[in-house]
Amino acid sequence: MRPRHAGGVPSARCAWGHGELTFGQLPYDVAHLLGGGMLLLSFMLLYQRRIAAVINALAMQGAILAAAAAWQGFVQAAPQLYLTALIALAAKAVLIPLALRLAIRRLDLHRAAETALGIGPSLMAGVALVALAILVVLPITAGAHAIAREDMALALSVVLLGMLMMITRRNAILQVVGLMSMENGLILAAVGVTGMPLVVELSTAALVMVLLVVAGVFVFQIRERFDTVDIGLVEPHRGEQP
């Protein structure tokens, strides 16, 4: 059952009607390009060994996200998206990476990322996840905007890769990075959908949480990994050994 194209009516103030975008049209290509860039950077995150490099990649991803948001704001003639872009740029491309570098220095974590799953396997897993993302997005009838649909696939892949990173890295910082790139994927999805209300609020709220996680890393001085926090701190207090 194909949905009616009611929603596809171009809004008066928008240069390109956002109903029938397809390949070969500039707005779509750019959006797609940016999304692809983010996905690529997610793979970079998985691929990098050195923490500093990972953080750079993260910063770049944040920057691209900001760009994507801004572009969508332009395409959809939705000014609030510029705000989102601005926040993303400030926080994800600049502030948080700086904070993380600081953390590395504070917790002297200058060493290669310890992985629970090897780099190679995690890359393969990443590819598989992307395939899965495309697979699940595929059945969405093309009636929904192609742009949104492709963006969804990309965003979904970014989210899944971020989560994959969280669970394959033993290092607290890297896990935070994973969480952040997940959140980047979310925002990408959010901005990707035409006319999504509350984008700013939602993205900010999500951001707040990430910031708090980073803060947590600072406050609780989580040196090595969640593992040790989990086991090392707690076993004596839990009294649950069978």
Binding site: M1, P3, R4, H5, A6, G7, G8, V136, V137, P139, I140, T141, G143, A144, H145, A148, M152, A155, L156, V159, M163, M166, Q175, L179, M182, E183, G185, L186, A189, A190, V193, T194, G195, M196, P197, L198, E201, L202, A205, A206, V208, M209, L212, V213, G216, F220, I222, F226, V229, D230, L233, V234, H237, R238, G239, E240, P242
Partner: protein, 484 residues
């Protein structure tokens, strides 16, 4: 009868938040506790006003049969918990800062709770649940002990990821509705989504439901997303366990229900029920076996919360008016009984100076009032009559057997095993030779602030299970039709 523009829901939400600010400013213990009680009482009164409030959405909020009882219950438990905490907080040994944080976080949590339940806009609901999560992280971590920090961190990370996934699900929901709604804002309104769901794209709806289920399911403590729950409930201040298992889980499950209602409204989607049944059954079975190995009383009852949430999830997964009614009853009854248990258990733990089951023994002999109260509360949680959980489990089992008998085998097994474990723990804690009390036992009047709420909850659970007033029963019946 409030005027249409009278934003009662928002008032309900913002009263606690205002109170939270006030409490953040109050350094001293007694007044803070009293103010806390006062605010909760006001909240309850306002919430009761919802019964007279016209149904339907109103901007970002909505009031209907499904969330009204949950909100009222939330504020009721908020009030009783505030009363209990007034008696219990003395034992927590907070310094001024922690005290402020504790009370402030509590009211912040209450407000977020109300918003999460009353929100009509799925985005607002998401934000509310995130705020509730942050508040609960604060409440759990407030002790600052390594164990508390670990529990809070676990809660934070796991629920954070869950929340993120829920956001993605929300975005998918909007994506599904986007072609059909003109003005953007409606695209996240539950009412609108529910209305247009039938013409939405089933594929997107499926995707949305998966993410919402995994996201909010984490908050609801469904297996295998449950890991944060036992530690969070065991390490925070005692009063917090009551609201965590009494309210937070309900709000999360309520969110899942809203999602299910939307997705279920489309005939072409993959039926959401089986997913819920699967997770619920996993929760019931895992909890039923985990209960046998607990040594820590609060973790024990946290696991029991997981089991009960699983039962409710199974009920909603089956769907239909009867099963939904059973699920709803189960949610309400579980909140009442479980918070009652945590009141009694909290007081007992403070008396004995430990929360190990082995350390709490012979309560009936040493403190008859508390002992029997706790015993009856645990029996109620174990699903024994005449309390609400007996009625709901009866209805659920009969319905399941009637609809698909094979599901009843694992279900009955789980219920049976869990109940047996609870009986064992009940006897360990309440019977036998009394264990020695801690040197710094709480004040006598603390027992009143424990037993009062405890018996009130049990009485209400009794009413709920056996003598529900006609209008309320009608309300629940109406509510049971909403999730579909």
């Amino acid at each position: 009868m409030p005027l249409p523009w009278f934003p009662l829901p928002w008032i309900i939400v913002f009263v606690p938040w205002a109170g939270a600010l006030a409490l953040l400013a109050l350094p001293r213990e007694k007044p803070a506790a009293l103010v806390n009680i006062a605010i909760s009482a006001v909240g309850l009164v306002l919430a009761l006003g919802l019964f007279g409030h016209p149904e339907g959405e109103q901007g970002w909020t909505r009031v209907d049969a499904l969330n009204t009882p949950l909100v009222v219950l939330a504020f009721l438990i908020g009030l009783t918990t505030a009363i209990f905490s007034a008696g219990a907080v003395a034992q927590e040994g907070f310094d001024a800062l922690r005290l402020r944080a504790y009370h402030g976080a509590f009211q912040l949590f209450m407000g977020a709770q109300a918003l999460a339940l009353l929100a009509d806009n799925m985005g607002v609901m998401w934000v509310a649940i995130e705020i509730a999560t942050l508040a609960s992280v604060l409440m759990v971590a407030v002790h600052g002990t390594p164990a508390a920090i670990e529990a809070a961190w676990k809660l934070f990370i796991l629920c954070g990821v869950g929340i993120a996934l829920a956001l993605l699900g929300t975005i998918f929901l909007y994506l599904a509705a986007q072609p059909l709604v003109r003005h953007g804002d409606g695209g996240l309104s539950w009412a609108v989504l529910h209305r247009v769901a039938a013409q939405c794209d089933p594929g997107v709806l499926n995707l949305a439901f998966i993410f919402l289920l995994v996201g909010y399911g984490t908050k609801a403590g469904l297996v295998p997303l449950h890991a944060w729950l036992p530690d969070a409930e065991a390490e925070g201040p005692i009063a917090i366990s009551a609201v965590l298992s009494g309210l937070l889980l309900n709000a999360a499950l309520h969110a899942v229900l809203r999602a299910k209602a939307i997705v279920g409204a489309h005939p072409g989607t993959v039926a959401p029920g089986p997913f819920l049944i699967g997770l619920g059954l996993a929760s019931v079975l895992l909890a039923a076996s985990a209960l046998w190995r607990r040594r820590d009383a609060r973790r024990f009852f946290a696991w029991s919360s997981i089991q009960h949430m699983g039962l409710a999830a199974v009920a909603f997964g089956f769907g239909g008016a009867t099963a939904n009614l059973a699920g709803l009853l189960h949610m309400l009854g579980h909140s009442l009984c479980k918070s009652a248990v945590f009141f009694g258990l909290g007081h007992a733990a403070q008396l004995k100076g430990t929360q190990k089951i082995a350390g709490i023994g012979g309560l009936v002999a040493s403190h008859p009032g508390l002992g029997w109260g706790l015993a009856i509360a645990v029996a109620a949680v174990a699903g024994l009559p005449p309390f609400a959980l007996f009625a709901s489990e009866f209805l659920l089992l009969t319905e399941v057997v009637a609809r698909a008998w094979w599901w009843s085998l694992p279900l009955g097994l789980g219920v049976m095993m869990a109940a047996a474990a609870k009986v064992q723990t009940l006897q360990l804690m309440c019977f036998g030779e009394p264990t020695p009390d801690a040197p710094d036992a709480p004040a006598r009047w603390a027992e009143a602030t424990t037993l009062g709420p405890l018996w009130l909850h049990l009485g209400l659970a009794l009413l709920l299970g056996l003598a529900l007033p006609g209008p309320l029963a009608a309300l629940l019946a109406a509510a049971a039709r909403i999730p579909g």
